[in-house]
């Protein structure tokens, strides 16, 4: 005979005790694994606690209305047919709250605990512990249930190898779980562990999803922006006086991009299943780095309808709102194409990640003076020119190399021949 000590579970982070409001079982009752045993309440949480084991209720220590600390034994279960004493259980639920930094390994330990029923079934079928570890658990705290093992055994008999738990409930379209970013928990002394803030988590998820969704290809063109540079020098004082904001290159780059997008509708698009959706509106997102290290992409709606000064004001307003955390939802959604300006950091070119569900993103490099060969009727000469790289990452499902290359070259052409 073996006795299972049923303990008050830790219901959620920051919960240290709970009040038992109702017992669903009494001494002498026979229970099976996953039967609801009792109901616990805290100030905010109401929880129905299932049994991790099968057996007979031998003793109940706390009555309804009593408040019990997490980890305290609340009842004893006499397990049927148990040949394994379950001293291991004391390390499962009753483990003192592990320090934050080692929480993940502690959870891994828990996942390796198997109920006597599971061990018994496995032993009978000749399943090794190593094999048990490969089965996905669907029980309480992700543990293996007897059913999981039985399914595994019958699949094994039928020659199937993939351990798949049979879903019994109504299936819904669920996004495949993302790989756990924190799986690598080994850390040396002095390492600092930083919890991601919510925005950082969203960014991490979206970057990964984009790479998993779109086959990325990046192509780069070099642009002679000398005319654009002189245009800015000619107009910046007047612009600042008239408009109250500085004139930089980005409005010109957005304008050249929107013109090119009109000619290449497949770049201003989305891929949905087996369909391409060519967007009517041209809404250009501008990636803005925030002071906290995060990133946000406010969107210039209908960017093709705006003049240079309209674009300049729009970019200025959105960037300021982004940095002061004042962006409204409609100002960060609906983008159809994104521009990221890493030239600000004196970077030349890059391979930016597409902002889903868009299909392309333009990286703007640093503008610098370079010696350049100019062809003249009198022969070739070397001249000092202002040069910039434009990098385009595109989704190869919808944009092939000819279109992607021609599109970014078209932007370059507009900028090289800039005259206003």
């Amino acid at each position: 005979m073996s006795i299972f000590e049923l303990k008050m579970p830790k219901l959620a982070e920051s919960i240290t005790e709970g009040t038992i409001v109702r017992w669903s079982v009494k001494v002498g009752d026979t229970i099976v694994e996953d039967d609801i045993l009792f109901e616990v309440t805290t100030a905010k949480v109401n929880a129905e606690v299932p049994s991790p084991v099968a057996g007979t209720i031998q003793k109940i220590f706390f009555q309804e209305g009593e408040t019990v600390e997490v980890g305290t034994v609340v009842a004893l279960v006499d397990m049927e047919g148990g040949e394994h004493t379950v001293e291991a259980e004391s390390t499962v639920v009753a483990a003192p709250e592990p320090p934050k930094a080692v929480a993940a390994p502690a959870l891994k330990e828990e996942a390796k605990w198997y109920s006597p029923a599971v061990l018994h079934t496995a032993k009978e079928a000749g399943i090794s512990t190593a094999e048990l570890e490969t089965i996905a658990g669907t029980g309480y705290l992700g543990r293996l249930s007897k059913k999981d093992v039985s399914n595994f055994i019958s699949q094994k008999k039928n020659g199937g190898s993939a351990p798949v738990a049979a879903p019994s409930k109504k299936l819904l379209p669920v996004h495949p779980p993302l790989p756990n970013f924190s799986t690598s928990t080994e850390s040396a002394a002095g390492d600092v562990i930083v919890e991601m803030d919510p925005v950082a988590r969203i960014i991490a998820d979206r970057m990964l999803q984009s790479k998993q969704t779109s086959p990325h290809v990046t192509t780069v063109v070099e642009v002679d922006v000398t005319k654009l540079v002189y245009w800015r020098i000619r107009h910046k004082a007047e612009f600042l006086q008239q408009e109250g904001i500085g004139l930089n290159y980005l409005p010109a780059i957005v304008e050249a991009t929107t013109k090119a997008l009109k000619e290449f509708p497949k770049v201003n698009a989305s891929v949905e299943g087996t369909r391409f959706i060519l967007k009517k509106q041209i809404n250009v997102g501008i990636a803005v780095a925030l002071d906290d290290g995060n990133l946000i992409v406010p969107v210039i709606q209908n960017a093709d309808k705006l003049s240079i000064s309209g674009l300049a004001h729009s970019i200025d307003t959105l960037a300021n709102k982004a940095r002061s955390n004042k962006l409204k939802l409609e100002e960060i959604q609906g983008g159809t194409f994104t521009i990221t300006n890493f030239g600000t950091f004196r970077n030349l070119f890059g391979t930016p990640i597409i902002n889903q569900p868009e299909v392309a993103i333009l990286g703007v490099g640093y503008i610098e003076k370079k010696p350049s060969v100019i062809e003249t009727p009198e022969g070739d000469v070397i001249a000092i020119r202002h040069k910039m790289y434009l990098s385009l990452s595109y989704d190869h499902r919808i944009i092939n190399g000819a279109v992607g290359g021609a599109f970014v070259k078209r932007i370059a052409d507009y900028l090289e021949n800039w005259e206003k």
Binding site: K44, V45, A47, Y140, L141, K170, H175, P198, L327
Partner: protein, 239 residues
């Protein structure tokens, strides 16, 4: 995650819908919902001690009990409810509060949460929450006062009855806080429906999220649960 813009406004139906989704759906669920005037007490509360039942009766305010813990709340057409249902062995309910704070920040609202995951603007409460755990399925729901009738709210939740000290049953007492409406803190006017649309649009921008509407099979099952449990005096007025 499936997102549900629940069109029904009957408190009993909606509370049944929550339990139905928790029990019969296996994936993650997000639901936006509203009730016509009602007062909803927590699972382990004494109705009489929490609700001014005379006022509720006179003003046709439904009295309902939910499956989650926590205290009594007042709902009307100016209040928005958000429900998250997920599968999680070690839930951290603070994450849902952070999501709601993010939703509010896009409205330009700088709100703060306390350790009970209630949300405040300038010290006035706009949101309360409660949770339910059944095995490894968890349900977190929260209210958002957008443009509610606050005088009705205060009157409904003002009961003159106190549970006698001789009572041995454990009741959860509501924690009362001064309240405010979100609308009063917006720089530009906004319709509650537009706010709902913004929340859903934002969520649908995340890969893997899609809209879901109740099927006939769903509403039949929910109505059955409503009739058997949520609308009964046995459940709502249990001592």
């Amino acid at each position: 995650m499936v997102c549900i813009d629940n069109p029904y406004t009957d408190a009993y139906f909606n509370l049944a819908a929550e339990e139905y989704l928790l029990e019969h759906f296996s994936g993650d669920v997000f639901m936006l919902w509203q009730n016509e005037s009602s007062v909803i007490v927590g699972k382990n509360q004494n109705v009489q001690a929490e609700v001014n039942l005379d006022f509720a009766r006179e003003h046709h305010i439904k009295v309902a009990r939910r499956h989650t813990g926590g205290g009594a709340v007042y709902h009307d057409a100016g209040n928005l409810n958000l429900t998250f249902i997920e599968t999680d062995d070690r839930p951290d309910f603070g994450k849902y509060t952070k999501r709601i704070l993010t939703m509010l920040s896009v409205l330009g609202i700088q709100a703060q949460a306390d350790e009970r995951n209630s949300i405040y603007i300038d010290g006035l409460k706009i949101s309360g929450c409660a949770q339910f755990i059944r095995k490894n399925r968890i349900l977190f729901h929260a209210t958002l006062l957008f443009s509610s009738d606050l005088s009705n709210l205060n009157a409904t939740l003002n009961s003159l009855y106190t549970v006698p000290e001789t009572e041995t049953k454990h009741y959860v007492k509501s924690v009362k806080s001064p309240v405010t409406n979100i609308l009063d803190h917006l720089t530009e006017p906004l319709q509650l429906n537009d706010f709902k649309r913004m929340i859903l649009t934002d969520l649908l921008g995340n890969a893997g999220n899609s809209m879901y509407a109740f099927s006939r099979e769903d509403t039949t099952a929910i109505n059955r649960l409503k009739t058997e449990k949520y609308v009964t005096n046995n459940w709502n007025f249990q001592a």
